[in-house]
Structure formats: C-alpha cells, structure tokens
Symmetry: none
Subunit: 243 residues, 2 copies
C-alpha cells in the first residue's frame, strides 16, 4: 500500500513465562494503524543480550521503524539500552542530558539518584531522547529504533511523545461487518468481493459465541467510499445475518 | 536450564492492525511453563506467505518445538497449512483422514462439506493430526512444527490434545456427545457425572441452531473405556436427545 512499515520488539521474560499478559502490542498496533504506519511483525524475546541484538538488527534492516518495549528500568536485567547500542556499534554511557532530567526528578521527590537509578541515564551517543511525562526516565531513538519502557502507562505516554516525530502515510480506514454464519458459507462471496475491490483488503475473523459460529469481516483501505460500497455488497449477500 | 525450548508463531493481520488482542500467546506461555518447556520467542506475522515461510523455517531450526496459531480456516486468507508445507518442501492436498472427520461433522450438522470447508482438510503428507474436539477441523504436526487454530477456544483445546505427545504423558483422548437440550437442562446431570468420574474432564459447548438450543459435550481422559462409560451414562439421561 506504500505506507511506511514497522516492527515491534517486546523484551521480557515475564511475557514468555506467562506471568504477565502483554498489553503494549495491542496498544501500539492500534496507534500505528491510526497513524498510517503498517505494523508488519512483532517479536517477543527474553532478557537475553544475544536475542535482543539479533532481533534489533534484523528488524531494523527490514522495516522503516522498530519500536521496542521493556528492559530500560534500573535493575540488572534491564539491558535493552546497552543491547541496542551494541547492535549499532554505538558507544553508550550515562549521558548528561538524561542525568539532569533524573536528578531534577529525584530531587523533587527527595530521593537519591543512586547507582541503580543512574542506569536509566545510559543513553547511546547521538540518540534522541523520548519524553516520559509519567516517570521521567526517558526512552530514546537510535537510527530507526525507538526504545521505550515496558510499563504500559509509560509505554503509552512515550508513544504519544514519539509519534508526531514520525511520518505517516495516508491513514488506513476500516469498517467491520459481523456475519452470523459459519466461515464456510462466507468464503465464496467474500473471495468474489475481495477480487472485485483490488484497492481494499478483507480479513475474516471467526468467532464462536454462545455456541454460534460467526465472523467479523474487516474491510480496510484508504477510501471510505469504497469501503462502504464493498460493505453494502456483503450486506446484500447475507441479508439479516449481517450486522 | 536443559529444558526443551519452544517458539510460537502467531499468524494474523487482525493482531497487527490492533483490531484483535491476541489471547493465545498468554495461554500457551502458561501451559508450556507448567509443562517444563521453555518458551524463548514469539513472532507475530501477517497473513503473508513469504513472512510465514521465513518465520517457520527460522524458528524450526532454532528451537525444539514451534507452535503456530491462526490461518487454518476455510477462507482465502487462511494460508498457514500450505505455507508450513512449503517451508519443509512437503506435498499438501486434501487428505482422506481429515476429509472423513469433516464429512462426518458436517453430516451430523446437516451442512454441506463445500469447497471452502474442504480447504480445512488440506494436510501435509506425513503430518500427524491434532485433535479438535470443539469444531472438528484438525490441526497438525509436521516435523517439530505444530499448527493450530486461532480461535482461542479451539487453540486451547488443541494445545490440550497435543501437549501429552510432547512431554511424554499419556495421550488425551476425547469423545463428543451432542445433546439437543438447553444447557440449563444439561448442567445438573453433567455436574453429577463430572463428580463421579474424577479421571475425566467434561466440557460443554452450547449452540443455537434453527431455533433449537443444544450443546456438544466433550469428554476427555486417557482411558477410552472410562470415556465410553461416562458417555453411556449421559446418553441414558438424555435418551433420544443425545446423539
């Protein structure tokens, strides 16, 4: 479709062990769709330096932007910043601009900027800071990789800080038609309409609810009128089973 | 740690667009942790043949097991089975064992096994079927890749069918009884029989068809004789309403 492409890298043992259910993927996916950026792939890896570096390099080469989530806090297992720097052979150390932000933050709270907290000021050379209005410790953008926190409220605030800086294509619009029929009944007419509307994409997402089979058919494209025309054709096929 | 390692591949535009929040990753992560299998990576890719094949090959080489979720229904965007076969250069076509399962299922429902539904019988040569007690259309294991449905209730049932095969436990068997009565009539006798058969598990999946309420009751356990005994007790309660 010509939109810029993106990938997400979620870093966290707690997701892979099943202790925590990731929320950031779903949030970012919605925000990027609104912004006209095409999220093509998500990877979830453990707090493991080789796994993070390998994924950062691969995704950075394949996509216009990469968004990471997790591993930038003050504890020993927060290794994302160092791994992203290493992936690009970029020096990293405590940076004065980030240290000043944290110093002011902890002074306000009457807390000490100890060695652990100072880890959050480790920012690669030449990286641009991403504002964190929730808890101050910044994210950063290095090349096309945007490094953000894992805590959902902070992640979401950072996405809000970052998105206007990125260039989106035309926003992708979508509309959904719920069809209370099995996908086996939907497949043939949907395939026909899919072929007739080459500028749109059609996805069929089946569900089983209260013992009833149905599917949400999602129509996506950049032209609202075309989406409505295709939706009307589908409604005409399925009559009162389409909502 | 010496545990076997695993990766998951989630296939679905609907996750990447933010329309649907994935539930299967969190479910599988918890189940694998219980089973002593170390989930090391998850990837989410679009309904795109190259992306699926590339991810299947990479994850299959790097891990002991790969679990996929999504893209095995009857519509044109369900391409997972063909992509997994292609990733391993394995022929794929409608397979007689899978077709027989579907034929019996749709015969019972009085529905036609049309061309779209028959797509769900496309199974690679030499693959082992994964039992689907919820909606019949099977998953499959090809090499170390286990291909399962995206609908959470079906995905979870398939994981239950599959896991004993991977961990050396006894395989879980299942049988289904269709009962043409509302769940309110089924609950009491089912609860009684559930309590009497501690070695079995009972699931009730309600439906509404042609204005009639019913439920598919799935009985699972490792002892076929016990499953048949419990099924006979249920049949005795519901008489000609049980099929």
């Amino acid at each position: 479709m010509g939109n810029p492409t993106a990938a997400m890298l979620v870093i966290g043992d707690e997701i892979l062990s099943g202790r925590t259910r990731d929320a950031n993927m779903h949030h970012l996916a919605g925000r990027l769709t609104e912004a006209g950026i095409d999220l093509r792939e998500v990877r979830v890896v453990a707090d493991d330096a080789e796994a993070i570096k390998t994924a950062v390099r691969a995704l950075s080469e394949q996509h216009d932007s990469v968004f990471t989530s997790g591993g930038i806090g003050p504890t020993h297992d927060d290794i994302t910043a160092d791994c992203v720097a290493a992936a690009f052979d970029t020096p990293i150390d405590v940076r004065e601009d980030a240290r000043a932000l944290l110093q002011a933050h902890y002074d306000r709270q009457g807390l000490e900027l100890n060695a652990a907290r100072l880890r959050m000021a480790r920012i690669p050379e030449s990286a641009a800071l991403i504002d964190n209005p929730v808890s101050t410790a910044p994210g950063f953008s290095l090349g096309n990789v945007h490094v953000m926190a894992g805590v959902p409220a902070v992640f979401e605030a950072m996405v809000t800080s970052l998105l206007p800086r990125l260039t989106g294509g035309a926003p992708v619009l979508s509309d959904t038609l719920r069809i209370d029929r099995g996908e086996g009944d939907i497949a043939e007419p949907l395939g026909r309409i899919d072929a007739a509307y080459e500028d749109l994409s059609f996805g069929s997402y089946p569900f089983l609810r209260d013992g009833l089979y149905g599917a949400n058919v999602v129509i996506r494209g950049v032209d609202a009128g075309r989406i409505q025309a295709a939706k009307a054709e589908l409604k005409a096929v399925f009559g009162e089973d389409a909502h």
